[in-house]
């Protein structure tokens, strides 16, 4: 099970991120999770939104380079060691994690981690075998 992630290229200039959030606001697009990886002159905003394809189209029309990818939403209990239990089996199998970020914790004491691996299919199978739950979009919204 995978979910869709929206990725946006953002120039590192004053006001650019604000221009982006304004477009999202005006179009009623709710960010469930968001993280920026930044360099000196640009950043990459990764986020989870309800209708990523629609959001992508709106952003493209407004001069943003945006795209949509598949990522895993890993559900873990909110306690020490839970994250480690996700990463250890992946590392043991030689699966590399490309990036990770966390979403807002769900009401029932669970955290959802967004994870992208270099071998997505294999990561999914390993986590399933370990009994780690993967969330669909329904759980996030």
């Amino acid at each position: 099970m995978t979910i869709k992630q929206l990725t946006i290229f953002v120039e590192n200039t004053t006001g650019r991120l604000g221009a982006l959030t304004r477009i999202l606001a005006e179009n009623g697009i709710d960010l469930r999770a968001a993280v920026i990886a930044e360099t000196n002159d640009f950043g990459i905003l990764r986020c989870i939104v309800r209708d990523p394809e629609k959001a992508r189209a709106i952003l493209n029309q407004n001069g943003f380079t945006a795209s949509v990818q598949d990522v895993l939403a890993v559900v873990i209990p909110d306690r020490a060691g839970a994250f480690d239990a996700v990463l250890q089996p992946l590392a043991a199998a030689g699966v590399a994690v490309k990036y990770i970020y966390s979403t807002v914790t769900s009401d029932d004491g669970e955290a959802v981690i967004v994870l992208k691996a270099d071998q997505q299919k294999m990561a999914e199978e390993i986590l399933k075998a370990e009994g780690i739950a993967l969330a669909g979009e329904d759980k996030l919204f």
Partner: protein, 434 residues
Amino acid sequence: MYWNKKIECADRSDMRRLQLTRLREEVAYEYDRVPVYRKKMDEAGVKPEDIQTLEDIQKLPFMTKEDFAENYPTGLFAADQKDIVRIHASSGTTGKPKVAGYTRRDLADWGEAVARGMTMAGQDENSVIHVSYGYGLFTGGLGAHIGGETIGATVIPMSSGNTKKQLTFLTDLKSTMLCCTPSYALTIAEAAQKAGLGPDDIALQAGLFGAEPWTQAMREDIESMLGIEAHDIYGLTEVTGPGVAISCGKGEGMHISEDLFYPEIIDPKTLEVLPDGERGELVLTTLHKQGMPVIRYRTRDICYLTHEKCACGRTTVRMSRIFGRTDDMLIIKGVNVFPSQIETVIGTIDELTLNYKILVGRVRDRDTFELQVELAEGLEIEDIAFVEALREKVSHALREMLGIGCKIRFLSAGTLPRNGGKAVRVEDTRNFND
């Protein structure tokens, strides 16, 4: 001190007589040997024998940089290949270089022209000439080199780069003249200062600086830090290379070796020849060239001329400094850059659009060079590594094309301001007027 007093201090009437004789020979030779130019003359209805006075030069058709592009690589050569002993080249507008060929006599003339300038700057056979212009296809290095050899000085072919080593040779071999771009002279001067070396520790007396525009403040800095007198040198590959004109330091402007290069100033719009003192486009005709003569070559450089006798005693015509260009060529870090070259490069990279902007600036007397370019629509960017790999690819391709590095900034599609549908391409914030 004069290298060739007979020429440099000639009566104007003697100079004009020599120029007319040489012009007639050069035009007849060009008409005979270069079909492309013969065709131009035929179309203009002018024959070599129509050149009866120096003013008759105005009957002759112009040559332009487009002639070089259309006749790449050797279509403008007049000498047989067996007589060509050297090739140089400079960047062209379409990515094709402008190739120049020299005979032995051409090289001797080039050496003569540079020798006159070095002598103006007080150099002679006892001098040590430190050449930090790049050696290779660029005419800077070998141009200064041949001038130094002509006066019988000791020439050190340093080429550019490795500033620490430059400083070692400069001090240990007691160089008396430094030849390089003004910005590199400043780099060397600053390195000397950092190493605790002042004018008294350095034997340098003079500098021969050219190939890029520079400011008066920069000149003063270089002169005081190195304890030298700075001289300007002007030239271009199509005509020969550096040495077409050199400043004596006594009067304004640069003395043109006008027995070899005949200058005119034209209005770039009406193409009318303008009188002394009026700014316009410099047009040069070689008067004694065999390998690749040029006739009424439009340099695109804006300046003015004066025929007044100089305080140094020379009677040769002087050209002012260059005030600008009539085309879109930029000189960045001493290298000729055309926006069309950048367009050629980004046109080959699918991830980019043709919407770009070139930003040229000046920080601490050195050029900064940045390219902003819009990413293709619908580009899938998931991580930084992708963007960095793309940057590396663009950077490499630009360096291959231009020969210099460039900072690259990517923008989302549609973000560059458009001016009447077209993005404004160049923003040059350098100011050389103070």
